[in-house]
Amino acid sequence: MIEAVASFFVQHPLLWTFVKAVVLASFTLMIPLAVIYIERKVAGYIQSRLGPVHVGPQGTFQTVADALKLLLKEDIVPTGADRRFFYLAPYIAFISTVLSFMVLPFAPGWVALEMNVAVLFVLGVSLFNVVSILMAGWSSNNKYSLLGGLRAVAQLLSYEIPMVLSVLVVVFYTGSLSLTEIIEYQVKHGWNIWHPPVLIAALIYFICALAEINRTPFDLPEAESELVSGFNTEYSGMRFALFFASEFANNFFITAFAAALFFGGWDGPILPPIVWMFLKVFVMIFVFMWVRWTPPRLRIDQILRFAWQGLVPLSLLNLLFAIALGVR
């Protein structure tokens, strides 16, 4: 029976890709449930309290309950909002995340869409996120949302550049833009992180990752105490849930991307590769959360200054450093 199904899909590769896309889309919707639960528990323990405990064993069904609640909420569209963009924005954010997951190798052979320019594709698709935030901020017909949206776009664009430059260092080392090849290179030659320029690139990448997913200390676009909720003030119910889900799925993706580029992806002894992948991702997510709940947030001009006067020169120098050292 399995052979019949398999040969059917081999004859219809487009259909197979579609099935993989559906699986990944549901993954994109499900993984935030786990990530949000972990976030709330970690936040609780850092803040000397418990986090969710009641719903489900140890509170594990709390996010499911919250998602259900959001589903059942009234869908409010503000008067004077630009309807097309207001409706479109959450979906574009979601689609960009799903597309990024399509090229990520979870395990040897487990890639939805094998691309030999996967890195370039991911960096390009992440710009959809920026567009969706701008759409959301603009179309809400709300001064605070507009301020939040503009700040977010400024921040995201400024931090794309050092991120691209750090990823470029890895590409230079492995000589390939394909994620599968990068991981296989690391299986043969050891993880990329052991090279000094790649280490610096990884640190720069982490800072940019924090800024890309709007996490403290770079979360001014969603700063509650100033702009209520920034660009997603006017969103309620399922639309808000989609934004929220794509933000946390992006969280997962960015760390998985870092794992693939710097830490060898699914490489590791004894345990099955998929477990290694998830392990690396969750360790990095834990570090992100740790950083989120400790320092205060930066002001927008400080954020931009740090990007342009700090990270961009640093990543350029790092790239030169990598080129000077040459490939082994």
Binding site: S48, P217, E224, E226, R299, Q302
Partner: protein, 366 residues
């Protein structure tokens, strides 16, 4: 002061997440720059001063809990001191020591609220939970003594209603020992954090002459270099017998005001230890006649509440009810300097500056 009609006029409405009460700010913005600001108050006005004119003197003490509700005991003390001055009522020694002990515990509790909300305004939400964890301990102590957690009503004309419970002194000392370590933790979390410093240094500078001319008080003026602390200036209750320092910083910015409050918490610990060690035995309340009619005249009292100089003024004409009770609230005067502080500031600094003034709308609006 007029609002310029250029640029965007934004309303930071009576309800907003960085809530310090129901305060409305009308801002004229030019991009991220604030051109002018007009605070609109009165959303919490209850006419307390007029209500106090209809009641006998001692019936007005519970009203004062609702003024600065984060430091209710200071308000109670203020009004009782004023009535005591009006009627020349003596307060027994032990009562004075108990009053100072409660005041300093209250100062710690109030500054913890400031710490928590200030951290949250700037994005460090964790600070809020740590501060309130300690505040819960203080509130438990105060509840054991007074029976209430927020509106204590535990100072009477002529002393305090009842003595401290058994073993209270030791519990307070245990708390102080724990609290000193916690203050070091807070310094680790916020004071030594580079991001926190870059958000608060050089922001919202209040020059010394402006602070004096506006009548600012409390940590606001002590952060601008003026060593004005009523506990040292007027030496009321037992503050002349207790050794402590008044922290004064010169910079006048948000950072200085924050440091003043942090250091004040440490000094409060010092005062509490000395008070518990030196407390004499004796009565705690002077008995007054049932119908209390102070002689005609005007009297005023000043108290150093955690927010600044809280002053009560009473006019008496010999009848059981006062002719006038006037409450000079520190936050009222501190808030009037906000438009000056915001000139030329950025919108993102508004929250930090407003948080550093530490206002409570209950006493602004009365």
């Amino acid at each position: 002061m007029e609002i310029l009609s250029q640029g965007m006029v934004i309303n930071v409405g009576p309800q907003h997440p960085s809530t310090h009460g129901v305060l409305r700010l009308i801002l004229a913005l030019d991009g991220e720059q604030i051109l002018a600001c007009e605070p609109v108050i009165g959303y919490l006005h209850r006419g307390l001063e007029k209500m106090m004119e209809r009641r006998p003197y001692r019936h007005n003490i519970p009203f004062t809990d609702r003024l600065d509700y984060l430091a209710a005991l200071s308000n109670n003390l203020g009004i009782c001191q004023c009535i005591e001055r009006l009627g020349a009522v003596e307060v027994p020694e032990r009562a004075k020591y108990i009053r100072v002990l409660l005041m300093e515990l209250q100062r710690i509790a109030s500054h913890l609220v400031f710490l928590g909300t200030f951290g949250t305004d700037l994005g460090a939400t964790t600070m809020f939970l740590y501060a309130f964890r300690e505040r819960e301990m203080v509130l438990d102590l105060l509840e054991e003594c007074t029976g209430a957690r927020l509106t204590y009503n535990w100072v009477r004309v002529g002393g305090v209603p009842d003595d401290l419970p058994e073993g209270f002194g030791q519990k307070v000392l245990d708390f102080i020992k724990l609290f000193r370590q916690r203050i070091d933790e807070y310094n680790q979390l916020l004071t030594r954090n580079r991001i926190f410093r870059s958000r608060t240094r050089g922001i919202g500078v209040l020059p010394k002459e402006t602070a004096l001319a506006y009548g600012c008080s409390g940590p606001v003026i002590r952060g601008s270099g003026v060593p004005y602390d009523i506990r040292k200036v007027a030496l009321y209750e037992v503050y002349d017998r207790v050794e402590f320092e008044v922290p004064v910083f010169e910079q006048g910015d948000v950072w200085a005001r924050y440091l003043v409050r942090m250091e004040e918490m440490r000094q409060s610990c010092r005062i509490i230890e000395q008070v518990i060690r030196d407390m004499p035995d004796g009565p705690v309340l002077t008995k007054l006649p049932k119908i209390f009619k102070p002689p005609a005249g005007i009297a005023y009292s000043r108290v150093e509440s955690p927010r600044g100089e809280l002053s009560f003024m009473m006019v008496s004409d010999g009848s059981p009810n006062p002719v006038r009770v006037h409450i000079r609230a520190p936050s009222f005067v501190n808030l009037s300097v906000l438009p000056r502080l915001l000139e030329g500031a950025k919108v993102a600094d508004l929250v930090a500056i407003l948080g550093s003034l530490d206002i409570v709308l209950g006493e602004i609006d009365r």
